[in-house]
Symmetry: C4
Subunit: 240 residues, 4 copies
């Protein structure tokens, strides 16, 4: 299979996994930077992640303009993706979701921080972006590049940011990694909500977080990927 | 397919989706105003939502009298539906459910308010109707038009009301929209229960709620509808 | 089908439903009084409820002695059932379970009380039996008639009792009703755990509970039964 | 089937059950001591538990050196298993998992203690091992025998220990028993989290715990095993 075809198949799989693992419901999306053109990214037309086929994947400029729309309608919030790729050349994949357990952290002052080793990839703590701060009353949707860039800036050099009253964005050096962080961001949030009422929580130390992030690679991620593919009923292809 | 047939198929689908998404269990029901006769509505015979077939759908006057009962037994609480259609000409579809997460809000003084953009459709806050106030000790069931009208009045111009110790009622401009609000009413309640113990909650502002409600249409709802049909094992028909 | 055969099929179905609805896990059991001999009851051999077939059903005296054991091993706790039938001629079916949400109520002083109309069948409030009180340190299992009778006495004229550190017992005028109460006992416990942290809870009044109990019959229970049979993959037989 | 073949089949089944019952996700592992060589143990290659086949099972010395690696990569944390077998000749099976409800107990000072009779097998209370204490900032992974031995020592004569920010280890006199304790360790943690906010919790007394542990054998465990095999889609073989 050609490189691009592998990427397209893997992007469909990523959508299905995120749905099966309940990181996205009928909404949320995942993109990947074009393997041959770093100034383009690939993202499905506006469709629920668990319904997506290869034919749904569209190509966009980093400003969110579609190259090959035909009769396909894009996601309104494609600017989230474009702005992240623009701001961060190291980023090769982006997930936007409304993962249920992260929502409460976005609407309270409680910081989301990893307490389980599997969750270290979310970073030492997770910043929250509030569209209200700069844009006032909106639909909360990131519907232009100005909002996208403001959100992307909140990531700093990190890999996760919460969006107040809306969800989260996750960026990563490849597609499987983005899915991995997204799944364990949800786990992290759920665990922290359970642990907090039980007393003083021992979060991972900064040193532990660094050491785990440096160690997290294909040995870890591909083990989960095989399992998630099986659960989502998708073939396991060679890593794109 | 004739208009009425489309509506009947879509009503069966709505029942199945509400069951699959756990908004109803063996109880709860959903109706639609008759497409040709605004003084009539369509509602299944007394049966669990996930078991319903087209042959189960009955026609009622707004007072809840059946037109075509044959040997089919109606839901006792059909008056909920009739009273909502009577009070609100803008309403084309009604859901009544015992959605699990909304129950605690109906039995405490805690107001249910949207904190996630997907939940703005429930309104700025959700009123609670208590059958006890006007009718004293009852089975809590809405078993006549007097109770139905009292409940319908509690909706005001809104789209949702809780029923103390019982559940909720949702009204909407079309069937898909009613299902959409019902699903995200459950999500809203679950999220708020998780967020409240974590500190001061930033709910959506009134301006945000208005903007999102004005924006929520087929672009959003049909994306969920396709996904829910697939999950419920139902064909996706053209919107009735 | 002969009366006894209908009862045996329905008892298998009751086991499968309780498993499917997560009221029992690998443990817990349900029995029915023998339709022709009120001094006997029918209960499976010691097997997980979701695995049970008609061939597993054994016949017991009210003292828990098996009539037709062959090579089948009985449940150690069959005395729970016998003692309830002995103490309460009105009881035709008994469920014993470790339903997850009821456990916390059995180990704290928090009274379980219905707040949702569907749960009124559990009674105004649910007493707790503690094996420790009379029998000291045991395995907590009801392994003889003395313990069974002590537990049965705790029911009074009611239909439910919790067992400290162990689970619950439910008695009812027929098998479907026993399953119905068991399912909504779990629902009641889960809802109350969610409502309590939210402020003062408005439980059902005694008058409401009485009115609902008097109304709850086949019209309500058979609607759920059809749905539960479908979910458990069991045929819907005429009520035994 | 030869003894070893039975053990290998049962080890695959144990992996699948732990996945189906959500005690492990894509990570976590279970081993068994070699039936003919007490200085060896059997453990899958590095793979998600729900994907494991007989061909994945490798043989290791107690120091974690593989005997028959071929092209198979071992789990990094095999030292957990080796160190437990080395320290405890009575131990025949070991589970390591990240069971979701136990994590909060490992990161707070709240002791995990059994309150339900089914959970007595976890012991009177469950100690917590913190890699930080002796090894400082690490990836939290048990990646050599020194860490493995330190963890194994924390078990004392017991059957369970939590690992701070990481998960739990369970040891048992046979494979089915190890799975049984692992499942009910998760249940215990979930129940205790629900019970604690409701007031003073009556845990099992030490006498009750002892009596239940002495009673828990094949009569109890095989009933669950049959059910879990069915749920995991695995044949029920004679106990290895």
């Amino acid at each position: 299979m050609a490189k691009l075809d592998l990427v397209l198949e893997e992007l469909v799989t990523a959508n299905r996994i995120l749905a099966r693992e309940e990181v996205v419901d009928s909404f949320g999306h995942v993109s990947v930077r074009h393997p041959d053109r770093p100034d383009r990214f690939l993202l499905s037309r506006a469709r629920a992640p668990d319904c997506i086929e290869v034919e749904d994947i569209m190509e966009f400029t980093l400003e969110g303009e579609s190259i090959d729309a035909r009769d396909r309608k894009p996601y309104l919030e494609r600017f989230i993706h474009g702005a992240c790729y623009e701001a961060r050349p190291d980023v090769q994949a982006v997930v936007h979701n409304h993962s249920p357990s992260v929502i409460p952290f976005g609407v309270t002052d409680q910081k989301l921080k990893p307490l389980l080793h599997m969750c270290a990839s979310i970073g030492h703590d997770v910043p929250t972006w509030d569209s209200q701060t700069k844009f006032g009353d909106t639909t909360l949707l990131v519907e232009n590049m100005e909002m996208g860039r403001d959100l992307a800036a909140s990531l700093g050099r990190g890999r996760t940011a919460l969006m107040r009253g809306h969800g989260a964005v996750v960026v990563a050096p490849n597609l499987r990694h983005a899915v991995f962080i997204s799944v364990y961001l949800e786990v992290a949030a759920k665990l922290q909500m359970q642990a907090m009422p039980m007393g003083n929580v021992k979060y991972l130390t900064n040193g532990e977080v660094e050491k785990i992030i440096n160690r997290t690679g294909p040995y870890t991620i591909d083990r989960a990927w095989e399992n998630w593919c099986r659960r989502a009923g998708r073939p396991i292809t060679k890593s794109a």
